[in-house]
């Protein structure tokens, strides 16, 4: 799992069912080829989980218990849970508060704040922690970890909640007022209910990212399961003890997914009925405006200003400035990996997306959920599992880009899946009827109608994957072929040896590469990138 872009978790798409009413059934909707492809992709995604389970099984219950009941595991568990609880709470407060101010009040410059509060997603957390440790050299431990991760991850809450607040139907709130509820109880009963799924999804993303965060926490010397697994791997290739830690990590991820799923329930919160929704009314801030402005400015300075200023400062020191040419090799291998991984990932989503968009069967849903679950597994677990697999079964693939690309596919498939599915669903199946009636066979119909209509949608997903890949650190550190440096591993190496001037250009390049992410995320609707 990368540290910068959001992961998508299981989400039922409201629109997809309507394209598959029984009388419009497509005879070729579930062709064996598509199904086989979808199953293969799901199985590949499940490989890391299978390896972890197998290792634990090999070790046997007594050894697993012995490895689990060490005081070290208890400490890691306390750290991880404290981090998730504190950062989760703070991110909720900041995300919801900022979203409300931006979307529902008379706060000036709403458009600017909206961009600024999504922008931290374009700054990898490990770059952010590097910036903060430069500003506050003594920053480490739980306090530092909470500070940096909150500032890096609160946009995961802000983005979906703001989108929800923006699109929520004011009619519901008006109805509540008409039924005799005051403004505060209306906000509590209706507003909160409308925001709840977005908030839960956002907090889940924060928590999953915290579980898999390596770079920022390692830099701040705050050990969690992920950093411990990597440390262990560095010390010795002792995969048994590492696997048990990985097992705990996977267990935590699954627990989080389950809690979120249960908390979300099955209720519908979107408006029922037809007619265009109106824009919600905005609360007048009046004399509180300066205070609100101060708050959002402070948040923007802390989350975006500090990393931008630090990177800028290092970059502009003439005596230590590096030639930009040193960036080329890392930039080239990053771009190459990102493009290949984006292409492969998007192709891998096609079978399941096609099955799901056409008809929502248990089979399609299962395949999709499996890939989502597999992608919630932290990158370190995926990487270690792929190392084990390639060493055991495909020695020649060990330490090749192929394995690395495979890891990216497993980690980032949901990002592309959401877009591909939306793209496929956006092509009405009736259009192919029209094309057939005009004399085109299935293949020509695909080329002349479906492909052109899908292309734009899938490009957005591919871009998300490419950005995620170019800022991925954990799996890349473990799997990159010897001698291959990406921007993030080069940055990591330089900052680990405290060579900040050398690290800065890579940080700047990483931020520039992920900047379009802000635009992609702002452009898409709430249903596209949040659970």
């Amino acid at each position: 799992m990368s540290t910068t872009a959001p992961v998508t978790t299981p989400t039922p798409t409201p629109g997809s069912a309507s394209t598959a009413s029984p009388r419009r059934r497509r005879p070729g909707g579930g062709s064996p080829g598509l199904r086989l492809g979808a199953v293969l992709v799901a199985l590949v995604c499940l490989l890391p989980l299978a390896v972890v389970a197998l290792k634990a099984f090999e070790a046997g219950p007594s050894e697993v218990a012995a490895l689990l009941l060490r005081p070290r595991v208890g400490e890691l568990m306390r750290n991880t849970l404290a981090l998730v609880a504190l950062t989760g709470t703070l991110a909720t407060v900041l995300g919801v508060g900022a979203a409300w101010l931006v979307e529902r009040t008379s706060l000036p410059l709403a458009g600017l704040w909206r961009v600024l509060f999504v922008a931290p997603l374009a700054i990898p957390a490990f770059v952010n922690s590097f910036a903060w440790s430069t500003v506050l050299p003594g920053l480490e431990g739980l306090g530092g970890a909470v500070l940096v991760t909150t500032l890096s991850y609160f946009p995961f809450v802000f983005l979906p909640v703001a989108a929800m607040l923006r699109s929520a139907d004011p009619g519901l709130e008006e109805a509540a007022r008409a039924l005799g509820l005051g403004p505060w109880r209306t906000a509590a009963k209706v507003g909160l209910a409308q925001v709840r799924p977005a908030l839960l999804g956002g907090v889940l993303l924060v928590a999953l990212h915290l579980l898999s965060e390596f770079g920022a926490l390692e830099m701040l010397r705050f050990p969690t399961f992920t950093t411990a697994i990597l440390d262990q791997f560095d010390v010795a290739f002792d995969s048994r003890s590492g696997s048990v830690l990985a097992l705990v990590l996977v267990g935590l991820a699954v627990a989080l997914l389950t809690v979120e799923l249960l908390a979300r329930g099955r209720t519908r919160y979107v408006r029922v009925g037809s007619g265009a929704a109106r824009r919600p009314a905005r609360a007048r801030l009046g004399r509180a405006t300066p205070l609100a402005l101060l708050a959002v400015t402070a948040l923007a300075v802390l989350a975006v200003g500090v990393p931008a200023w630090v990177t800028g400062t290092w970059l502009t020191r003439p005596e230590e400035a590096l030639e930009p040419t040193v960036l080329w090799p890392a930039l080239w291998s990053t771009v190459r990996l990102a493009l290949v991984a984006a292409l492969v990932t998007t192709l891998a989503t096609l079978p399941a997306a096609w099955l799901l968009a056409r008809r929502r069967t248990w089979f399609g849903v299962l395949v999709e959920r499996v890939s989502y679950l597999a992608s919630s597994v932290p990158g370190v677990v995926v990487a270690l599992a792929l190392i084990t697999l390639s060493i055991t079964w495909a020695r020649s693939l060990y330490q090749t880009s192929a394995v690395l690309v495979l890891a990216y596919v497993v980690l980032f498939i949901p990002r592309a899946m959401v877009s591909t599915r939306a793209a496929v669903a956006a092509v009405p199946p009736e259009l192919s009827d029209a094309a057939r009636s005009l004399g085109d066979g299935p293949l020509r119909t695909f080329v002349r109608v479906q492909l052109p209509l899908m292309l734009r949608g899938t490009l957005a997903g591919s871009a998300l994957v490419a950005i995620a890949v170019s800022t991925e650190l954990t799996a890349t550190l473990l799997l990159a072929p010897t001698g291959t440096q990406t921007l993030s591993t080069a940055f990591w190496e330089a900052s680990a040896s405290l060579d900040y001037a050398a690290a800065a250009p890579y940080a700047a390049a990483l931020v520039l590469l992920s900047a379009p992410l802000t635009w992609l995320l702002l452009r898409s609707g709430p249903e596209e990138h949040t659970p």
Partner: protein, 353 residues
């Protein structure tokens, strides 16, 4: 000459049978409307003709060519029909000209004459050619969809509720434009609809469909005035049904002794009366016709539907009257029948449909 012939068509969705032995013949250059409530299988029938769906049994012939039957399957693109669906289904990534020429051979796609010709045919200005589908109104989209369907001069044009997504005003004008264009091309048309007025006014023949079966096929006026059964009667318009006894060409019922629409036969029958067949007058003492009390009035401006409880039997009948003002609720009226009522075989209890 026959343009389309269906014999014994049976079709089903997984686990649900939809069509049960449909037989239908459409003569060249005529328009047939398949009329039925939603879910009766009429769209499935159209999809079987188009080849979007395979029948379980039966044969489809377009012209003289067998396109679906035992051991024969011609894919949709080789069947040579035109197709217009409810939403038009214009290709959103292509402009109107490209939509219209989509099905033409590559050489003709370049030539703009056919596009201009087609636009003129459906009554759209020539500059529409460069517009994109999302810049057109719903009615314009449907006209372009029809023009596109006619571009390859198909043997049969299939229309799947092409007007139902339009609002009422647009529906009427679009329907006229489409009917004119189709008539100009001399096209053979199968229209599927749930709108009785549309079916009756648009088609030369109406096929009434219920639960996957055609209950009656015939000229609009014939199926309207002499429906085969109660359900067909109701799917074509309002009607009420009274029990009666037929005897020597006269039927005895709650509305008196009326001349029947057939001479032969005797015994219990069901008398079907359309609201416009009833005439209302103030009830005077010594009235010969049956009398009753007005129970409910729905006033529409051009006419009104008046529900009358007959004294002769505990029965409600509905009359359409253009009298202004209509008789008030509670008033007493005399009810007479215009013309010969249609008789049905005895099916079920009397009442208002």
């Amino acid at each position: 000459m026959t343009a389309l012939r269906l014999t014994g068509i049976t079709a089903s969705h997984p686990r649900t049978p939809v069509l049960h032995g449909i037989d239908l013949t459409v003569a060249s250059g005529t328009t047939t409307a398949v009329l039925g409530p939603s879910g009766c299988g009429k769209t499935t029938l159209l999809r079987v003709v188009a080849g979007f769906m395979r029948p379980d049994a039966g044969e489809v012939r377009i012209g003289d060519e067998l396109v679906a039957g035992p051991g024969t399957w011609v894919p949709p693109e080789k069947r040579g029909f035109g197709y217009v669906a409810q939403e038009g289904n214009l290709f959103p990534h292509l402009d109107v000209a490209a939509n219209l020429s989509y099905g033409l051979p590559r050489r003709e796609r370049r030539a703009r004459e056919r596009v201009a010709e087609l636009l003129e045919l459906v009554g759209l200005p020539a500059e529409t050619a460069s517009r994109r589908p999302d810049q057109l109104s719903g009615g314009q989209q449907q006209r372009v969809a029809l023009a596109r369907a006619l571009a390859r001069r198909p043997r049969v044009v299939l229309l799947d509720e092409p007007f139902s997504a339009l609002d009422p005003e647009l529906r009427a004008t679009t329907r006229e434009a489409v009917a004119d264009a189709l008539a100009h091309e001399g096209a053979t048309v199968v229209l599927v609809t749930h709108d009785q007025a549309e079916a009756l006014s648009f088609a030369d023949e109406v096929a009434v469909m219920h639960e996957g079966r055609l209950s009656q096929v015939g000229a609009p006026s014939l199926v309207y005035s002499s429906p085969a059964d109660r359900r067909s009667a109701l799917s074509l318009g309002e009607a009420c049904f009274l029990p009666g006894v037929l005897e020597a060409g006269v039927v005895h019922c709650a509305l008196g002794d009326l001349p029947a629409d057939r001479r032969s036969g005797a015994g219990p029958v069901e008398v079907m009366i359309r609201p416009e067949q009833l005439r209302l007058a103030d009830a005077r003492t010594g009235a010969v016709a049956p009398t009753g009390e007005v129970r409910h009035v729905a006033y529409f401006g051009h006419d009104a539907l008046v529900e009358v409880h007959l004294d002769t039997a505990d029965v409600l009948v509905r009359a359409r009257t253009s009298h202004t003002p209509p008789p008030p609720v509670g008033s007493r009226v005399e009810v007479t029948v215009d013309g010969r009522p249609h008789l049905l075989a005895v099916g079920s209890a009397p009442g208002i449909g």
